[in-house]
Symmetry: C2
Subunit: 111 residues, 2 copies
DNA sequence: GCCGTTAATCGTATGATTACGATATAGGAT
DNA sequence: ATCCTATATCGTAATCATACGATTAACGGC
C-alpha cells in the first residue's frame, strides 16, 4: 500500500531526500560528472560513455531535469545538456546544512 | 528488464549512490536526525515520532543497518539503535569528495 | 520533397521500494 | 508457567524504478 506519507515530513528533509534520490543511482552520478567536466555535453556522448541504452540514459536525464539540477536545450537534431549550477548549489547547500546539523547533534553515547 | 548494470560503474560512484539511496527517503532522514540528537534511541521512540507504522519504521531501520550507518543492540525487550559514526563519517567523506570534485570540474560554458 | 541522424517517448517486463496489518519471538514481570 | 510488552519478520498489495527495444518527432542535408 505504498501510499507515501511524504506530507508528514518537514520541507527541508524532503529537499534533502529529493537530492539524495537524484544521486541514488550510479548512472546519474556518472552523468553529472561528465556534464561537470565536459564542455560539450551532447546526449550522444553520454550514451557512448555509459553502459546503458540510449533510452535508459534519456530516462535518467529526464529525472535529473525534473529535479532541476540539469537543463537541456535542443541544438539542431541533438540535445545539449548542462548542469544548472544555481539549482545544484542550492541542493548541495541544503544537503550540507543537514550534514552539519548531524555532526552538531552528534552524541556518542548509546550502543 | 531492470537488471542493474551496477558492475560497470566505478566503486566510488557506487558508494556515493548507496549513501544517497539511504538518504533518499524522508523517514530515514528523520530517523538519523533523531538518532543523532537523542541519548536514548529506542525503536519505540522512533515509531512515536514518525507518522508511520511500527513495521514500516522497522523496515527503514533495517535498510540503514544493512548499509552499516546505524547499529542496533537488543536491550531487554526493546531495541536500542545508534549511528555508527565511523561508518557514517566514511560515507560522508566519500560524498564530500564527490561533491568537491564536482565543484572543481565545474565549467559554466554550455547551455 | 526524401533520407539519415539524434534523441524523446511509448510500451513493456521485472525487480525494488514502501506501506500496512498480522504473526512470531524474545525478554521481563508476576 | 503465564502474561505483557516491544520489536522483528512475514504476507501482501500498490507504486516506483530501471532497463530495453520500437516508435515517433524534429532537424539537416541531399
Amino acid at each position: 500500500m505504498a501510499l507515501p506519507r511524504i506530507i508528514d515530513f518537514p520541507d527541508k528533509d524532503l529537499k534533502v531526500a529529493d537530492f539524495a534520490k537524484a544521486l541514488s543511482h550510479p548512472a546519474r552520478i556518472a552523468i553529472l560528472k561528465v556534464l561537470a567536466e565536459k564542455q560539450e555535453c551532447i546526449c550522444g556522448d553520454l550514451v557512448a560513455d555509459l553502459p546503458l541504452a540510449q533510452s535508459t540514459v534519456s530516462q535518467h536525464l529526464k529525472a535529473l531535469k525534473e529535479l532541476g539540477i540539469i537543463r537541456g536545450i535542443i541544438d539542431g537534431p541533438r540535445s545539449r545538456y548542462c548542469i544548472d549550477w544555481k539549482v545544484f548549489d542550492r541542493y548541495q547547500r541544503e544537503f550540507g546544512a543537514w550534514s552539519e546539523k548531524m555532526v552538531k547533534l552528534r552524541q556518542d553515547n548509546c550502543c
